[in-house]
């Protein structure tokens, strides 16, 4: 049953717009939630499967957003010594790919530099990195327009040779684009986790010394995880830029990282479904709260819901429910735990 759950969820999400009719506001909320959920899934690859918490994850998201936006908008920047770099606008789809590559590269950089440290130190290196990147985006006005924001970012155009192009302007198209990218990311994480590489990550998380002693290269494994995670966050950032069509240094807000961490940990870190469930709940909770109470109260309830979930299910919703189901079921070994490749 647990193996079917992702498919059921995917089918439900794919059918959701039909049920919603054309309520663009809810569709918008779902798109933004979806983009953040992709971010959460990428964070989960690091936090959930290697145990390393990147509290600067928004840096990769933001780098993706900026690279994608600048690729499709073009720029003209002096890089010192009288040299100028001039870039003519390229299609947004190319921007998406470059965003993935650039974010992945910065993931590599951060991985190489900071996996010499672990735990809380890694947390703080990543926070610092994100802050520095944010301040560069804010202050390098010639390239990023700084606080003046990059506006009129084009929508993503998908083109197939001979079949013409297809610009994703409407909400529905963007919804399916996000769902598609999200599914792809899910598949990537799922295949990684079930593989030899996934076992290496798990080994490092559970007992690093022992993992080293069976020949697992910690730095390389963690760096590869960071690269893939960052690349996925970059993809999410690119989707964000082309969907919202404006970005400014606020895309690097620390609170967005916090939202992603909430989605991962409350949903259940180290599970495939956790970030998706957590993402849907905490992405849509503000939407649900908006009509029923004062703005300040909404935040208070948001915080309380978070606390209550963690008190009831300290390991997150998905593991918590799995344990609950296991207790209910007569079988000693629950299905959910018997197939770690899918569940973990």
């Amino acid at each position: 049953m647990s193996r079917l759950l992702p498919f059921a969820l995917l089918a439900a999400l794919a059918a959701l717009p039909l049920a919603l009719g054309t309520n663009p506001y809810l569709l918008n909320a779902l798109i933004v939630t979806g983009i953040l959920t992709i971010g959460a899934m990428s964070l989960n690859l690091l936090l959930g499967f290697t145990g390393q918490l990147s509290l600067g994850h928004i840096a990769f998201f933001g780098i993706g957003a900026y690279v994608s936006a600048l690729t499709s908008l073009g720029f003209d920047v002096e890089i010192g010594f009288g040299y100028r770099v001039v870039h003519e606008p390229w299609p947004a789809a190319v921007g998406f790919l470059l965003a993935v590559v650039a974010a992945g590269l910065s993931g590599y950089l951060i991985g190489r530099l900071s996996f010499r440290v672990r735990g809380a130190y890694f947390v703080l290196v990543t926070i610092s990195f994100a802050e520095v990147v944010r301040l560069v985006a804010l202050n390098w006005v010639e390239l990023t327009q700084g606080p003046l924001a990059l506006t009129n970012i084009p929508a993503i155009t998908l083109g197939l040779p001979g079949l013409g192009t297809w610009t994703l302007r409407t909400k529905l198209q963007n919804y399916y684009l996000v769902l598609g990218v999200g599914t792809l990311c899910w598949l990537v994480v799922a295949s990684l986790v079930g593989s030899r590489f996934g076992r290496a990550m798990r080994g490092l998380k559970e007992n690093e010394s022992l993992a080293l002693s069976v020949g697992i290269n910690a730095t390389r494994t963690l760096t590869v995880a960071a690269v893939i995670s960052a690349a996925m966050a970059g993809a999410a950032g690119s989707l964000y830029a082309h969907y919202l069509r404006i970005i400014d240094p606020d895309v690097f807000l620390f609170s967005t990282t916090v939202s992603m961490v909430i989605m991962v940990v409350a949903g259940g870190k180290g599970t495939l479904m956790g970030p998706v469930i957590g993402g849907l709940i905490f992405g849509l909770l503000p939407v649900a709260l908006r009509p029923v109470m004062a703005p300040e109260a909404q935040w208070i309830v948001y915080g309380l819901v978070l606390i209550v979930i963690l008190f009831v299910m300290p390991r997150g919703i998905v593991p918590g429910l799995a344990a609950l189901l296991a207790r209910r079921s007569a079988r000693a070994v629950p299905v959910l735990e018997a197939s770690p490749e899918v569940q973990r």
Binding site: L26, N139, G146, P147, D248, I277, A288, E296
Partner: protein, 382 residues
């Protein structure tokens, strides 16, 4: 499973509020009520409410009452865009007001294009808002270039020779430094340092120490009121005594006087409203009524320099709806161009701005120079 449950709940709750009532005209108000700009957004909303109540007391517009649908954009651009989406599609508001800051407003603008719904921008200084070719934008606050232009005649009277800037690191601050710098250069004034401070930064002593060492006679500061209070206190602590002129219209002199005390003495401020001297405003009677109502509702007097824009914004929207003859986005957009009345800070009349064929509207409010002297606001004689 839990995901789907919450999703359903969310959808039901959201749908529960949808569906416009026919007997009212809804106006969407998109302001920051939580987060960094909560104080200002709340002031603007309070001002807007006063205007709506006043109009409704006189019988409303087109025989219908105005209904403000106020939503919190959480001081966050993504949320501002989402809120616009909600107001337009769920609440079916034919016209919006918002979104307080430039980055918030800029985030909303693509949505206006998508749905062809007009928005009155009550606060926001970035030039981009009215120059990027969005014909659904009508702004009543002055962009910094316009503010600089209005200030230009006073420059020589003040005897400014060399000016340093200390500005907020956002569109508001950086835009002011650029536009005022350009104007001052044209006037033959030298430009010295341009120092930057972060939004939310509380200690600017490093920047001030640097400014203290410069040979300029004037420091032009662009920031919001909270930071100005800190700046004046810290300047006095550092013994930094130069002419100070603040720009941007978010200075709120009363709060400065109350909180910075004598440290604010002698500072000058470019402001767009003169609530201290109602008799000098373009429409003294309207100013007095507004201030009286503001006080009656128990709001702090200090808030009026921010809230009058919400008040004027709603009044301008009401005028547009009246002129349009129906509460429909396209008609209102068209009618904005014929709005012409005297607001609390000068005539509200939209001039075309931006690329031809898709111009935005920009009204040109009055700009006043005031000075704080012995804890009171005075208009300096130049």
């Amino acid at each position: 499973m839990p995901g789907r449950f919450t999703l359903t709940t969310a959808i039901l709750l959201a749908l529960a509020t949808t569906g416009a009532r026919a007997d009212t005209i809804r106006i969407g108000v998109n302001e920051p009520l939580t987060g960094a700009f909560a104080a200002s957004g709340t002031y603007v909303v309070n001002g807007a409410r006063i205007a709506a109540d006043e109009i409704n007391a006189r019988g409303g517009v087109l025989g219908k009452k105005l209904e403000l649908v106020v939503e919190d954009n959480k001081s966050n651009p993504t949320e501002a865009a989402a809120v616009a989406e909600k107001l337009i599609t769920s609440d079916k508001t034919p016209v919006l007001m918002g979104a307080w800051g430039s980055s918030l407003t800029l985030a909303v603008m693509p949505k206006l294009m998508d749905y062809e719904v007009p928005m009155l921008v009550e606060t926001s200084s970035s030039g981009k808002i009215t120059t990027s070719g969005n014909p659904f934008v009508f702004r009543i606050s002055p962009p910094s270039a316009l503010e600089a232009e209005t200030f230009a005649p006073m420059v020589s009277k003040l005897g400014m020779k060399k000016v340093d800037f200390l500005v907020l690191n956002n569109d508001f601050g950086r835009g002011a430094a650029t536009d005022f710098g350009k104007m001052l250069k044209e006037k033959g004034v030298q430009i010295g340092l341009t120092e930057i401070m972060d939004q939310g930064a509380q200690d600017m002593s490093a920047q001030l120490a640097k400014l203290k060492g410069s040979d300029s006679d004037t420091i032009m500061i662009t920031s919001a009121v909270d930071q100005l209070v800190l700046l004046f206190k810290q300047m006095s602590a550092l013994g930094l005594k130069k002419r100070v002129i603040t720009t941007g219209g978010s200075q709120n002199p009363d709060q400065i006087i109350a909180q910075a005390g004598s440290a604010a003495d002698g500072t000058m401020h470019l402001t767009t409203f003169l609530p201290w001297l109602p008799e000098k405003t373009p429409d003294p009677k309207a100013t007095e009524t507004f201030i009286a109502e503001w006080k009656k509702r128990g709001f702090q007097f200090a808030g009026v320099t921010e809230s009058f824009r919400g008040y004027d914004g709603i009044r301008a929207i009401a005028h547009a709806i009246e002129k349009a003859g129906k509460a429909e986005p396209a008609a209102i957009t068209k009618a904005f161009w014929s709005v012409d009345f005297t607001g609390l800070n000068g005539p509200i009349r939209f001039a075309k701005s931006g690329p031809a064929g898709k111009e935005s509207g920009q009204s040109k409010p009055d700009v006043y120079l005031i000075e704080i002297k012995d804890g009171r606001v005075v208009v300096p004689t130049l």
